[in-house]
């Protein structure tokens, strides 16, 4: 069984809390707040003003550049504010607030549930539809999908890889999507293959989800999806990282930035993204909702919800029985890559695949000690970096040396911090180094 060649860790996956909960449709929120930046790239520009009436699926934020995404209204109602509000981290973001009135959809959206497999559109038409629908990578990185599908001149895509790995502990949203929306997923894969003009599409699934693998394999045979292959992968974190997945599936290594996965002929999309592409292309439905796992050992109930964007995280947590008493950590995402939320009244955004609640007693950070040069972090780093060194260089602000040691290659997976016996906050400092060095590189490029 395949996996990526170096590094990685085996955190306990904790998927048992929510893996058997089927996807439930969350009731429509009465009010939504939609941040104008939910993706990597330029913020979107609001095209509605206070007092405007909007329909479900109507464009409210126009992409602010090529690497940016459209944003649509997830409910129908009246815009009550276009202003700056704090997001989950308390950071100020421009948001459009909409109060719900009824449930009226844009007329061109096909709301039927039956599968529509036939697709005769040309690649450029598909990409245009994906762009208009504001589809972004739904694994968490939220990179606009139309940018990925627009292969630069002189390069050719050879393989489409669908990320059904979901290596992040706790989260089960992709898993439930694969089980319950398998046909839509596979049709989405076909459409993506058509858009990229590739013959081969591989869906990588870790072998801790044997039923998803069996289910998808059965569907592929039954539906005769040509060129689509389900590849079981040996469970290991961070297999869901783009470069790790390419290495696991194809054995090819992507060169350090600015090289992109396309340089080795691969395009990687998340499983949920494939479903979103299917809906965008076949049903004209923009990205207005997603599957979110609400999970945690201390929660009374765990759920996999299908939620409209902009819904307050509070409502999701209340449906799960409310937050447990005492100090808790609420994470936007899983425990490895997720960001802590300080304000649970913040809205749900495109990149949020789960909300993980962990009680404070379970997550104390150990007392920071000296680095004992055990090199566990070096062994765990899936990018072949030296985390102890990068962390030290960032602490000492030695940016040129940090650049020399390829700090920008870091994928922020957190394996180094997880594995450190001295409880050093390695990633915290590497992240600063990475951001600073990237800034220096950008400034240098502008100068030239």
């Amino acid at each position: 069984m395949k996996t990526f060649p170096i590094g990685g860790i085996h955190p306990s996956d904790n998927k048992r809390w929510s893996k058997d909960k089927s996807i439930e449709r969350m009731e429509l929120p009465d009010e939504v707040a939609i941040p104008m930046i939910q993706h990597i790239g330029a913020p979107s520009v609001p095209v509605v003003a206070k007092g405007d009436k909007v329909l479900t699926g109507q464009l409210i934020g126009q992409a602010g550049g090529f690497v940016s995404a459209n944003i649509h209204s997830p409910i129908s109602g009246t815009v009550t504010a276009v202003d700056i509000f704090p997001n989950g981290q308390g950071l100020r973001r421009q948001m459009v607030v909409i109060k719900r009135e009824g449930d009226e959809w844009m007329p061109e959206i096909d709301r039927s549930t039956e599968l529509k497999r036939e697709c005769t559109l040309s690649p450029s038409e598909i990409i245009a539809k994906v762009r208009d629908a504001g589809v972004v990578g739904m694994g968490g990185a939220t990179f606009p999908t139309h940018v990925k599908l627009s292969v630069p001149d002189g390069q050719k895509a050879e393989i489409l890889i669908i990320n059904g790995v979901e290596c992040e502990p706790y989260l089960t949203s992709d898993y439930r999507t694969m089980l319950e929306r398998g046909e839509e997923l596979l049709t989405g894969v076909e459409i993506l293959m058509r858009a990229l003009n590739v013959e081969r599409g591989v869906i990588g699934v870790e072998n801790n989800k044997p039923d998803a693998i069996a289910h998808l394999k059965e569907l592929v045979v039954k539906g005769n999806y040509r060129g689509v292959e389900i590849m079981p992968l040996k469970t290991r974190y961070p297999q869901g990282g783009e470069k790790q997945l390419i290495a696991a599936v194809t054995g090819r290594q992507v060169a350090p930035p600015p090289a992109l996965p396309i340089s080795v002929g691969a395009v990687v999309c998340n499983a949920s993204t494939a479903v979103a592409v299917y809906e965008a292309v076949q049903k004209n439905k923009p990205l207005i909702e997603r599957v979110v796992t609400v999970t945690g050992k201390e929660l009374k109930e765990t759920h996999n919800f299908l939620v409209r964007f902009g819904t307050k995280l509070n409502t999701l947590l209340e449906r799960a029985g409310g937050l447990p008493d005492g100090d808790v950590k609420v994470l936007n995402g899983g425990p490895m890559m997720g960001r802590a939320i300080v304000d649970t009244s913040a809205p749900l955004i495109k990149g949020c695949s789960g909300i993980t609640v962990i009680s404070g007693t379970q997550t104390p950070r150990g007392e920071e000690a000296q680095c004992i040069k055990c090199a566990k972090c070096v062994a765990a780093c899936p990018m072949g970096l030296e985390p102890y060194l990068l962390s030290k260089l960032a602490r000492r602000k030695m940016w040129d040396k940090a650049e020399e040691h390829n700090t920008v290659d870091c994928i922020e997976c957190g394996c180094c911090s997880y594995t450190c016996p001295s409880f050093l906050p390695l990633l915290d400092y590497i992240r600063i180094g990475k951001q600073t060095v990237m800034g220096i590189i950008r400034a240098r490029a502008i100068k030239k």
């Binding site: 955190p11 306990s12 904790n14 700056i84 704090p86 981290q89 308390g90 950071l91 100020r92 502990p169 937050l323 100090d327 808790v328 950590k329 609420v330 425990p335 490895m336 890559m337 997720g338 960001r339 802590a340 939320i341 300080v342 649970t344 962990i358 404070g360 379970q362 997550t363 104390p364 950070r365 920071e368 957190g414 911090s417 997880y418 906050p425 990633l427 915290d428 400092y429 992240r431 600063i432 951001q435």
Partner: protein, 327 residues
């Protein structure tokens, strides 16, 4: 004995020979350098802090000698005296610049700015800033982990554990600007240094609207504009719900201090104006403004009380913050 003599002799001859070789090599590869650079470097304080924008005092001295116009160069540590002496030595005109002092513009003490969550990650402002806004609900306030304190090589900054804020010792501050770069929230500004280390500044950087500020912090600027109205010198401007006092225009009259409903305007080494008599005295426009606005300040106090209750309720929903954690 013979061997001893021979050794001494050999080494002496060798020494002389090498000295001659070295002399010619030194002549051949001599680097022509302006001797004035050494002199100027001696005049500079030798702090090598980088406050002038150069890598160190030597680089600064070189720049001063090489450039004909040195008006753009300034050593904040040495100040006007050093610059005058060095410029006089070089026969150039010294740049004019009034002395400056680092000013930390946040008044959100622990008491006035309640914490709404715990943070147990790496103790560094820069790290916290990559995660979220910090332990209080204010997106602009001091994080209190002292990155600026670490950056100061003159020991002018210190973290007051009682208030959770950083304090500046004006007598030690050289205005090198290292702390300005270190603060991820951009709270520190180099401001004009008045005689006797006096200072006046708005101790808030929050560009949020008044209601948002009040919810997060009781010492923040709410952008009400009272100070702008009362200022007779046009030194105060309000931009994005935030007042700013221009030190070049301010005459230290301190009228604005009494006007500020949240006490966001701080004064250093000065007594505040006595409250009642001074307000009634000037028969200018400012006085009428004050008269009309006085009653309006009352409801503000009530709102504060409500806000307190709300803030407490929110504080219950505490969350912890750090990203990577272990099971």
């Amino acid at each position: 004995m013979n061997e001893l003599l021979l050794t001494v002799l050999t080494l002496s001859v060798l020494g002389v020979l090498l000295a001659i070789v070295l002399y010619f090599v030194a002549q051949k590869f001599k680097v022509e350098e302006d001797p004035r650079i050494d002199e100027v470097e001696k005049m500079l304080p030798g702090a090598n802090c980088g406050g002038c924008g150069f890598a160190g005092c030597r680089a600064m001295a070189e720049a001063m000698v090489k450039n004909d116009d040195i008006s753009a160069l300034y050593c904040p540590v040495g100040g006007a005296d050093v610059m005058k002496a060095a410029a006089g030595f070089l026969g150039k005109s010294a740049p004019e610049k009034s002395p400056q002092v680092a000013t930390m513009r946040c008044g959100g003490t622990c008491a006035k700015r309640p914490k709404v969550n715990h943070y147990d990650g790496a103790k560094s402002c820069a790290v916290v800033n990559t995660f979220y806004v910090g332990e209080s609900a204010c997106a602009f306030g001091c994080l209190g982990y002292g990155d600026c304190v670490d950056s100061c090589q003159f020991g002018a900054l210190s973290l007051n554990p009682e208030t959770g804020l950083v304090e500046v010792d004006a007598s030690k501050c050289t205005a090198c600007g290292a702390c300005v770069k270190a603060c991820p929230k951009g709270l520190i500004e180099l401001r004009k240094k008045w005689p006797k280390d006096r200072a006046i500044y708005v101790a808030c950087r929050s560009k949020s609207r008044g209601a948002v500020v009040m919810k997060a912090c009781k010492a923040g600027c709410i952008g009400c504009g009272k100070c702008e109205k009362v200022c007779a010198f046009g030194a105060i401007t309000i931009d994005s719900c935030l007042a700013y006092i221009d030190p070049d225009k301010c005459k230290l009259c301190r009228k604005c201090v009494n006007e500020c409903p949240t006490g966001a305007i701080h004064i250093v080494n000065m007594d505040p104006l006595p409250k009642e008599p001074k307000v009634a005295k000037p028969a200018s426009v400012a006085a009428t403004d004050v008269a009309t606005q006085k009653p309006a300040s009352k409801p503000v106090v009530e709102v504060k009380a409500e806000v307190k209750a709300e803030a407490k309720a929110e504080a219950k929903a505490e969350t912890k913050s750090d990203v990577v954690n272990k099971e």
